[in-house]
């Protein structure tokens, strides 16, 4: 017999798991927005691509761990291609904002349709490796191992990202480019290269999130659009271009999701948009927004 506290604790863990996944996807999204002022709608296409690639790799090569390495590399390269071939030329145009939206949405369409053409339009189950199946009992609560694995991996990525951004030269350049790309350019830094790197890195992270999410949520055709909406909310609530903001906001959205469904199942969906509207009305730059335009 589970007590109420235990149920709440489990819900909290659920929210944490989804929040961390969301953070992996949203971090690239928010950094690209902060850097290039591009709302990259194709971003969650890479998340979806990661999940489907994970299916193929696990089924044909029978190795989930390999998928964890290969898929982010592929989506990362695809992201580099998108930035280099399409976005770069358009970015320098006058009033490029609308064009970029149209372009990235076109790319999202192409990616999702190619996925449907290749893998079909039904849900695909991605089996998790043997070690990660089943559940363990932890302070009196039984919880699936795979979800702990999601927490561990995304925690590790978070730590790595924080380290890179705070302690390395590359991270310094990324942060400088977010706050003033033009100035950085005049100081002699190759800003286009920073853009390219962040775009590729963000796409790789989205792909990784897709791989991790696949055994948990299965791979299905509307997964990209669903998480895109959550990404919007995360980026707005956290503040454009703020990694810290994305982290806090993603966890908030994750918890809102799980507790919303538990306590007010009818209006659960509305909470995150209420939060978003509230933040935009009272603190338009977002909770941790650095740019206040």
């Amino acid at each position: 017999m589970e007590t109420v506290t235990e149920i709440y604790f489990v819900e909290m863990l659920h929210g944490l798991v989804y929040g961390m996944l969301l953070f992996l996807v949203a971090s690239g999204f928010t950094l690209v927005f902060g850097l290039m002022n591009v709302l990259n709608l194709s971003h969650t296409g890479f998340y979806m691509l990661g999940a489907y690639l994970a299916y193929s790799v696990t089924v044909y090569l029978d190795n989930f761990w390999l998928a964890l390495i290969i898929c982010p590399i592929i989506t990362g390269i695809a992201g580099l291609g998108v930035e280099h071939i399409f976005l770069r030329k358009i970015h320098s145009r006058e009033g490029a904002h609308a064009a970029e939206l149209l372009l990235t949405f076109g790319i999202f369409y192409v990616i999702s349709e190619l996925i449907v053409m290749t893998w079909g339009s039904f849900e695909l189950d991605v089996p998790a490796p043997e070690i990660l199946t089943g559940s363990i009992t932890f302070v009196g609560i039984t919880y699936p191992v795979y979800r702990f694995f999601i927490l561990a991996i995304s925690g590790a990525i978070l730590a790595l990202m924080t380290f890179v951004l705070q302690k390395t030269r590359t991270g310094m350049m990324i942060k400088a480019a977010v706050s003033d790309a033009k100035m950085l350019d005049s100081l002699g830094v190759n800003v286009s290269l920073v853009f390219l790197g962040v775009f590729g890195g963000g796409s790789a992270l989205a792909g990784l999130a897709g791989v991790i999410a696949a055994p948990f949520f299965t791979a299905y055709p509307s997964m990209g659009l669903e998480i895109l909406i959550d990404c919007f909310v995360v980026v707005v609530v956290g503040g454009f271009g703020s990694l810290m903001g994305a982290f806090v906001a993603a966890l908030m959205i994750g918890e809102l999701h799980s507790f919303g469904v538990l306590l007010f199942p009818n209006i659960a969906l509305a909470f995150q948009f209420l939060l978003m509207a509230g933040v935009l009305v009272f603190k338009p730059a977002g909770l941790f927004g650095e740019k206040n335009e």
Binding site: A98, L102, L103, G106, Y109, E113, V116, V281, P284, E293
Partner: protein, 331 residues
């Protein structure tokens, strides 16, 4: 030369109007329905472009007004039998105006880069309500309606089940609405819109209340979208959450971008292109989204102002060459 250009443009407008009037005679039934859809979505797309072109604001959540206009028509038709058609359309405008007034009150305060997402947030809230308040809206299943009849003073009763009548009704209402808004934009108010777009700080130093001007434009644009939604639900004979979801907002926004934002009527081109493409592509291939996506990419890559920009580019090339030919003849 100027006279010829003027004559040309008058001639062009007359041809276009004649084509629109006589289209149903030539077109098969599905063609007429497609034309009706194009007419209705033109109004919706232009409502979005009104904000982009005259105020410099982008809205990602315009389906909120479209959807509210659609739902109010369906709900009233369902509960009050024999409600007059023009009353329904006025209700759809009224509800959208009310909604836009409220959403606008909060959102025009935020900066242009956050504005689109704030409207989106409100739209998603409304969508949740529409999905969950099943007794009123039918939830995810939607709600079928029957196209109402209506009376005109001289002609008598008009039966809207006939798709030709539906086409003419939409055409007349949309052209009237577009013309009225066009006239409104020619007044000093329209100049004030442009002034706040081009140089907000100067406009406010000149004594214009920028927030108020933005709010008025937003409400005007919402009214147009609401009317389009009302017409759309009568045309579709069905209302569902798809009239209000993210896909609807984005489709309309993409139509605007494909057409080009430089002219008042520019989005019409995008709407026509988008609807024709989706019809024909979905006819020949199940993967029409792929080709549509590729077309988006091509349009962006090779033209700066959407299809209108592309046409202007071609015209420039063409007129340039003709000029050269004339020069050759002269010398």
């Amino acid at each position: 030369m100027n006279k010829i250009a003027k004559l040309n443009s008058i001639l062009m407008w007359c041809t276009m109007i004649l084509v629109l009037i006589f289209a149903p005679i030539v077109l098969p039934v599905f063609g007429i329905e497609m034309a009706t859809e194009i007419v209705i979505f033109s109004l919706f797309a232009i409502s979005i472009n009104l904000l982009i072109k005259y105020i410099g604001l982008v809205s990602f959540g315009h389906a909120a007004f479209f959807g509210v206009g659609a739902y109010i028509v369906a709900i009233v038709l369902k509960s009050v039998a024999g409600f007059p058609l023009f009353g329904l359309l006025l209700l759809s405008i009224g509800s959208a105006v009310l909604l836009a007034a409220i959403i606008g009150f909060f959102s025009v305060r935020s900066s242009p880069s956050y504005f689109p997402l704030l409207v989106l947030a409100f739209q998603m809230l409304l969508l949740t309500i529409a999905m969950k308040w099943r007794s009123l809206t039918g939830g995810d299943d939607g709600m079928p309606i029957i196209r109402p009849d209506f009376y005109l003073p001289i002609i008598g009763e008009i039966n809207l089940i006939d798709s030709v009548n539906m086409y003419y009704l939409s055409l007349v209402i949309v052209i009237m609405a577009l013309f009225l808004v066009y006239l409104a934009l020619k007044t000093p108010l329209g100049n004030a819109f442009l002034c706040t777009k081009i140089n907000p700080s100067r406009a406010s130093h000149l004594g214009y209340n920028i927030l108020l001007i933005r709010w008025i434009a937003f409400v005007l644009s919402g009214a147009m979208a609401g009317l389009a939604g009302g017409l759309y639900v009568i045309f579709q004979e069905f209302v569902a959450t798809t009239t209000m979801d993210l896909h609807m907002s984005f489709t309309a926004f993409m139509m605007v971008l494909i057409g080009g934002t430089a002219y008042y009527l520019g989005p019409v081109l995008g709407v026509t292109f988008y609807i024709l493409m989706t019809y024909f592509l979905s006819d020949i291939t199940p993967h029409w989204q792929l080709y549509l996506g590729v077309m988006f990419i091509i349009i962006v890559k090779y033209s700066e102002g959407g299809l209108v920009g592309l046409i202007e580019k071609l015209r420039d090339i063409f007129s340039h060459t003709t000029k050269e030919v004339f020069n050759d003849v002269n010398t």
